[in-house]
């Protein structure tokens, strides 16, 4: 026990004396939350639009005003020439254009039937679809207002309700994702590096020639990173709650408990990597390429797993972050309790035990 205590003290010395790395470890989650929260967002806001209003009647002016007052669009350039549109698309100054033909006001009043044209830049198909949909909704809304006095018969009102995230905020999705990513980076990458560094620098040679139990060497490496990760989770949760207004609907204790479970999985994975590699380069490569990339791709955080072909969906099952991502979303956003996430918790527990056993089994009691 005394050995273990001294080992942990030593690990803390290593961490605290490497100020730059410590700063990165503690600063990274904050930076990621801020970057994902404010810069990297797939929500569409203030998209540049050009409205080619060739009609200039009362109705068309009203429509233009309605579009301009929406937070989704920002009028970039007013023009009456349809030929200008393509120029602007080419320059990339606008994302979407709305053409109001000259007979718009006349036809809408005289024939109860008129036409509009939406042209959008589909180089980014998601943005184009979203913008077209938003614009169509505004037009439909406008049409409803026109019909107000004399309602047309047989209308179907579709009422949509966005459960758990009524404002469709991206933060609800990326905060759990960032948590999984940060924990994996800190735990898996840093732990594997710190053990392998001792091999590279020759410290391991003395440790192995001493009576220390390999279990102590391994577990002592994990403890400081466990504490660092708990600090990181706390900063992420504080930032997302107070800065990004992401609610914590479920039990905070449960959220921390499952996070610690995921930390243990990542630590075990890092220790396993360090047991089977001999150089920091190799450990870094495996952690980043073999662990980090699949986590980003297969956790469902950026690309929805449901849309993947079956082989990829199967692969996603062995990615611990996928299960953690599901758990965090369930607990934090949906406010579910343990009874509804026990399956995922069980899977993570199994993974943790497997990785820890492998890490200890693969730990070399001799050089090479």
């Amino acid at each position: 026990m005394k050995q273990f205590y001294h080992f942990i003290i030593k690990e803390f010395y290593h961490i605290f004396r490497d100020r730059k790395t410590l700063l990165i470890l503690l600063g990274m989650p904050m930076a990621q939350i801020v970057i994902f929260g404010f810069a990297l967002s797939n929500e569409v806001k203030n998209a540049h639009i050009t409205i080619v209003n060739q009609s200039n009647g009362a109705a068309s002016m009203k429509l233009v005003q309605k579009i301009e007052s929406s937070k989704y669009f920002e009028t970039y350039n007013q023009t009456t020439q349809t030929s200008d549109i393509e120029k602007m698309f080419r320059k990339g100054t606008i994302k979407v254009a709305l053409v109001i033909p000259p007979d718009f006001d006349n036809t809408i009043l005289a024939q109860n039937n008129s036409r509009l044209q939406i042209i959008s830049d589909a180089t980014d198909p998601n943005v184009a679809t979203t913008l077209t949909a938003y614009l169509s909704i505004i037009v439909a809304d406008f049409q409803k207002e026109l019909n107000q006095p004399n309602r047309i018969p047989y209308t179907i009102d579709v009422e949509t309700r966005m459960m758990y995230n009524p404002q469709l905020k991206g933060a609800y999705n990326f905060v759990p994702g960032v948590m999984a990513m940060v924990l994996l980076l800190v735990c898996t990458l840093m732990t594997s590096l710190t053990v392998v560094r001792e091999k590279e620098l020759g410290n391991m040679e003395i440790l192995l020639a001493s009576p220390v139990n390999p279990l102590i060497i391994i577990l002592a490496k994990a403890v400081p990173y466990l504490l660092l990760s708990i600090i990181n989770i706390s900063t992420i949760l504080l930032l997302s709650y107070f800065v990004l207004d992401v609610p914590i609907n479920g039990s905070l204790v449960l959220l921390f408990a499952v996070s610690i479970l995921f930390i243990l999985v990542s630590l075990a994975l890092g220790l396993l990597i360090s047991s089977v590699t001999d150089s920091q380069k190799a450990a870094m490569f495996i952690s980043l390429i073999a662990m980090f990339l699949p986590t980003v791709m297969f956790s469902g955080f950026i690309f929805p797993i449901e849309n993947m072909p079956l082989p990829l969906r199967t692969i996603s099952n062995i990615i611990p972050a996928k299960w953690y991502f599901i758990i965090v979303k369930s607990v934090m956003i949906k406010g579910l309790g343990l009874t509804l996430i026990w399956k995922e918790v069980l899977i993570l527990t199994g993974m943790m035990l497997f990785f820890f056993t492998m890490a200890i089994k693969k730990f070399k009691i001799r050089l090479s």
Binding site: K2, Q3, Y5, H6, F7, K10, Y13, H14, R17, D18, L201, G202, N203, E205, I206, L207, L208, A209, S210, P211, V212, I365, R366, L367, S368
Partner: protein, 307 residues
């Protein structure tokens, strides 16, 4: 673990072979090595880089498995009794292997704790060594000079009072004064009854050992006390010198009595062909018979070995 019967020898190596495979080539690091180290003695392994010294150290410290043979340290088999061995040996690898970001005292404390002892408990053993670096006890180990690093490493290797001490090239890269101090310390440790196996590429340090083994390309060329090694050398050696040392080196090869000639400091050493008559040197050459040193023996053994 059953204790080995022979209590006289602290280290017993019999017919140990070890080869590495790098790519497709197989390198024989150790080739049928056998020797014994008496308890409480200072045994030197003398040989150039790449001779297999470090491999041998790693085998004896239970860090490396080997292909053939048997090795015992302090009565325990290095393969099956590795746990017992790791409790009773002190090991100082050739490369500085302490934590450079920990201070002198933190390093010593840490190594004391992993051997489940304290600095106080064995302070008398390391006092003479540690006292010299104690003024710098709050300095990080990475910022120490080469000589001080070695003293710290030796202190850490001794902190649990090992019965056998393994020192792999402890004086490489250390200044002459520190080297001398270091060897003085080894003599003191020997008085404490600790068996010491030390390797070095420096021939002059061989004279300070009780026994030396000359090792080259994975083979032991000879084992004896330093005095016997030179005394039993059967060949005659002259040192020669003139004003054109380089030309002399070429010229001397043509002399009928020359078996071998090589530069040696300010002189060249000429090994006389066995059975040759008393050598007569050409005029203008300062020549004199000398007692062979360890280097001369080693060079001769290496030459025989290569042939």
């Amino acid at each position: 673990m059953e204790k080995f019967v022979s209590d006289k020898a602290a280290i017993v190596v019999s017919s140990v072979s070890k080869s590495y495979t790098t790519g497709k080539t197989v390198v024989k690091a150790l080739d049928d090595i056998s020797f014994e180290v008496e308890r409480g003695s200072l045994f030197g392994l003398i040989g150039p880089d790449g001779a297999g010294k470090t491999t041998l150290f790693r085998i004896l410290t239970s860090l490396l498995l080997f292909d053939k043979g048997q090795a015992m340290v302090d009565g325990f088999d290095v393969t099956t009794g590795y746990k017992a061995i790791r409790k009773r040996i002190g090991y100082m690898p050739g490369r500085f292997s302490l934590y450079t970001d920990l201070t002198v005292q933190e390093n010593l404390n840490f190594f004391a704790s992993i051997f489940e002892t304290t600095i106080e408990e064995n302070y008398d053993l390391i006092k003479a060594i540690y006292a010299q670096i104690e003024p710098f006890k709050d300095r990080r180990a990475g910022k120490l000079s080469g000589g001080m690093k070695q003293k710290l490493a030796l202190s850490c290797a001794l902190i649990h009072r090992p019965s056998v001490l393994f020192l792999d090239e402890p004086t490489t890269g250390v200044d002459a004064v520190s080297r001398k101090e270091f060897w003085d310390m080894l003599q003191t440790l020997k008085q404490e009854g600790i068996t010491i196996l030390v390797s070095t590429p420096y021939m002059d340090e061989a004279n300070l050992c009780d026994k030396v083994a000359l090792i080259q390309a994975g083979k032991i060329l000879g084992i004896n006390t330093p005095a016997n090694i030179t005394q039993q050398f059967p060949k005659t050696i002259y040192q020669v010198r003139n004003n054109h040392m380089h030309a002399l080196l070429q010229e001397a090869k043509q002399w009928p009595f020359t078996e071998q000639i090589y530069p040696f400091g300010e002189y060249h050493h000429v090994v006389i062909r066995p059975g040759a008559a008393e050598p007569v040197f050409p005029p203008g050459i300062e020549a004199g018979r000398i007692h062979p040193g360890i280097e001369d023996v080693f060079i001769d053994l290496m030459r025989d070995h290569e042939q």
